[in-house]
């Protein structure tokens, strides 16, 4: 049921093929080379079920930071909010906050930054629930120094406190 095939003039077909094939070869050559360069740039990542967040939180100087922070958050009552307090100069703070917030459900998680030599906190993300705990990241000299404090790593501590904003960044 196939009728005789008609053919385009040979030279036009050859020209079309040459143009198309050249584009394909150039496209693949440039593309595959770029992919190869991407592979060279891949950096080592953490292992395990929380490989991504453990890699991102590596700067918090603790083993399995995702699991450690999830355990710490779970120690706060579910109807109380956690305030993450960090320095305005801390580059990875936002990322850490996002991860902590994703681990702490159903607790609300607020973000507060403290500027150097300034006791006034900057509330970046506010909470509507009562405060249950303050999670300090690399701010050893700040806060109300609650008695009920858990040290999660050398640079992270959890203070179970319902202290108000006035003491969050106190020097």
């Amino acid at each position: 049921m196939v009728a005789p095939a008609r053919h385009s003039p040979r030279w036009r077909l050859v020209a079309a093929w040459v143009v198309w094939l050249s584009a394909a070869v150039a496209c693949c050559a440039i593309g595959y080379r770029a992919v190869h360069r991407q592979a060279d740039r891949v950096s080592p990542v953490a292992d395990g079920r929380a490989a991504t967040t453990d890699t991102w939180l590596g700067w918090l100087a603790m083993d399995h930071p995702t699991a450690a922070l999830q355990r710490a958050a779970a120690s706060v009552p579910a109807d109380k909010a956690i305030v993450v307090v960090g320095s305005t100069e801390e580059g990875g703070l936002s990322l850490a906050y996002f991860i902590i917030s994703s681990l702490a459900w159903p607790r609300q998680v607020s973000l507060v930054t403290c500027a150097p030599d300034d006791a006034a906190p900057v509330v970046v993300v506010d909470t509507t629930e009562p405060i249950g705990a303050l999670l300090y990241i690399r701010l050893e000299d700040r806060g109300g120094r609650s008695v009920d404090t858990t040290r999660i790593s050398p640079v992270v501590r959890l203070e179970r406190s319902n202290a108000g904003p006035g003491s969050w960044c106190s020097l």
Binding site: I30, R49, S102, Q108, S110
Partner: protein, 504 residues
């Protein structure tokens, strides 16, 4: 292993659904086994996410059980009801050439997927992969597979875009529930799977729409040549929703074009089923869905005006395609309103006043677009090549059923750029820089498909099985004859611009 069980169970449900949508088919239009597998996974994962969401509205503790039972039951129903179709697909008689091409397909698709898989296993989820999608998947994994409504109202989690549709989190949550705990490495595996399906569909779509094997083989090879697909924000190794939505869009485009070309009702059913998932994957899905709908409506109206389609049939085709997707898009907005989801402030009100006051952004948006299209380290030569292909396509296929196909890339791209007129970001350039490449990524597989279809061909074979059965015999307009020519040869001959596209 458990990951495979979760995906296979979804695919089993998708297989049943695909067979039900295909109906009883003839030998000429039965899909290949690979195409069937791709459709099964796509429709199966969509089914899982819809069932998890709906069951979560009614009785959350039963959500995982409901999704499992739905997949098992749907698969059994479809396979039992249409087992002759399935048998015909699986035990199709194949010659040695078919086996050779099957081997080539496995090598190309397997090889390209292995590269993407390597990147996913040696990298991490990227920012949106965690902060927008994985956070919700974690919630789903500890709430019976559903996202609790309280999340949408939580002001401290507004940064995670609660208004984004929940397809990706729900299927990640589905995998987490089967694995037994949140596992970011398992979530990362989902995205190379989408890449593999995209490569498979490029193969199957090239074959389906051109009737030739070479364009089919070229598509997946070209797909891997786009560096942004393998690594970077939005890539298939990043955990973003852009590659999944691109693959759903590709599948919908293939079956819309197949319907326009071959007038197959089953293709329209499958296209509608897949297109309705687009607004469910990401907000931009509405733009993609709209682009598809415009092209389909235009083609149906054109054919109706030529007398090739009855008005009622045209209306039915348009309604059956558009209504499911609209239902999903509107339904999601209604749900968000119902749970009093917090408002996001990325966009200004969509009003005439906003448009007129921001119209001055157009040159800047255009400039960013052209800069982006020319970034070889992200796109290689894709966009210049696609531009040339689109121009030749419009000229060479004048009056054919698929003449408007390049609009399926151009219209969504234009709409995506137009949305920046309503951006509330300051400066708006930051919004463009952070999202334009990902919006273009969603269109990349379709652009690849059209480029592969434009592979030159000198042969023009008459294939009676591809002709429309309902075309009135008296219609002999030049445009209809152009359609005939197109049906005879669905491959673009770039050298045959004027004298062969409308044969005398």
């Amino acid at each position: 292993m458990v990951f495979a069980v979760a995906v296979l169970l979804a695919a089993w449900g998708g297989l049943g659904l695909t067979l039900l949508l295909l109906g009883r088919r003839g030998a000429t239009d039965t899909p290949g086994a690979g195409e069937l597998l791709c459709l099964s996974v796509l429709l199966g994962l969509a089914t899982v996410s819809f069932v998890l969401f709906l069951a979560g509205l009614i009785h959350p503790p039963a959500a995982i059980g409901a999704a499992t039972l739905t997949c098992a039951g749907l698969g059994a129903w479809g396979v039992f009801w249409h087992h002759p179709t399935l048998t015909a697909i699986v035990v199709r008689r194949r010659g040695w050439q078919d086996w050779v091409w099957l081997l080539v397909a496995l090598v190309i698709i397997g090889g390209t997927t292995a590269v993407v898989w390597w990147f996913s296993q040696h990298g991490t989820l990227r920012f949106d992969g965690v902060a927008v999608w994985e956070i919700k998947a974690r919630l789903a994994s500890v709430h019976h597979g559903t996202i609790p409504s309280g999340y949408y109202r939580d002001p401290t989690r507004a940064w995670s875009h609660p208004l984004y549709p929940p397809f990706i989190p729900l299927i990640e949550g589905w995998v987490y529930r089967w694995v037994g705990h949140p596992d970011q490495q398992a979530a990362l595996l989902l995205f190379p799977l989408f890449f593999a399906i995209g490569a498979g569909l490029l193969w199957a779509g090239g074959r389906r729409l051109t009737g030739r094997r070479l364009p089919a083989a070229v598509g997946p090879l070209l797909l891997l040549a786009v560096p942004l697909i393998t690594d970077g924000d939005g890539s298939a190794s990043s955990g973003y929703a852009d590659v999944p939505i691109a693959v759903y869009y590709l599948a919908a485009v293939i079956f819309v074009l197949d319907h326009l070309l071959h007038d197959r009702a089953s293709s329209l059913r499958i296209a509608a089923a897949i297109a309705m998932v687009l607004p469910w994957v990401k907000q931009e899905g509405l733009v993609l869905f709209g682009g598809l709908a415009i092209v389909l409506v235009g083609a149906c109206m054109l054919r109706e005006r030529r007398g090739a389609l009855r008005p009622r049939a045209a209306g039915l085709a348009i309604a059956s395609f558009c209504l499911p997707g609209l239902f999903v898009g509107v339904g999601w907005r209604v749900y968000l309103s119902h749970v009093h989801a917090i408002r996001e402030h990325d966009y200004l009100p969509y009003t005439w006043h906003t448009l007129s006051s921001n119209i001055g952004r157009l040159p800047m948006i255009g400039s960013h677009l052209f800069d982006e299209l020319a970034m070889w380290d992200r796109w290689t030569l894709l966009w210049p090549w696609f531009g040339a292909t689109a121009v030749l396509w419009f000229v060479a296929r004048r009056g054919s059923a698929l003449q408007a196909a390049p609009l399926l890339v151009i219209l969504p791209a234009a709409a995506d750029c137009g949305v920046y007129l309503f951006s509330a970001w300051q400066p708006v350039e930051a919004h463009i820089d952070s999202s334009l490449s990902r919006l273009l990524l969603q269109l990349t597989p379709v652009a690849m498909l059209l480029i592969a279809m434009s592979l030159p061909s000198g042969r023009r074979t008459i294939r009676p099985d591809l002709r429309r059965s309902r075309r009135p015999a008296h219609d002999d307009s030049p445009a209809e004859r152009a359609d005939d020519a197109f049906l005879d040869d669905t491959a673009l001959d770039v050298t045959a611009l004027s004298d062969e596209s409308v044969p005398s």
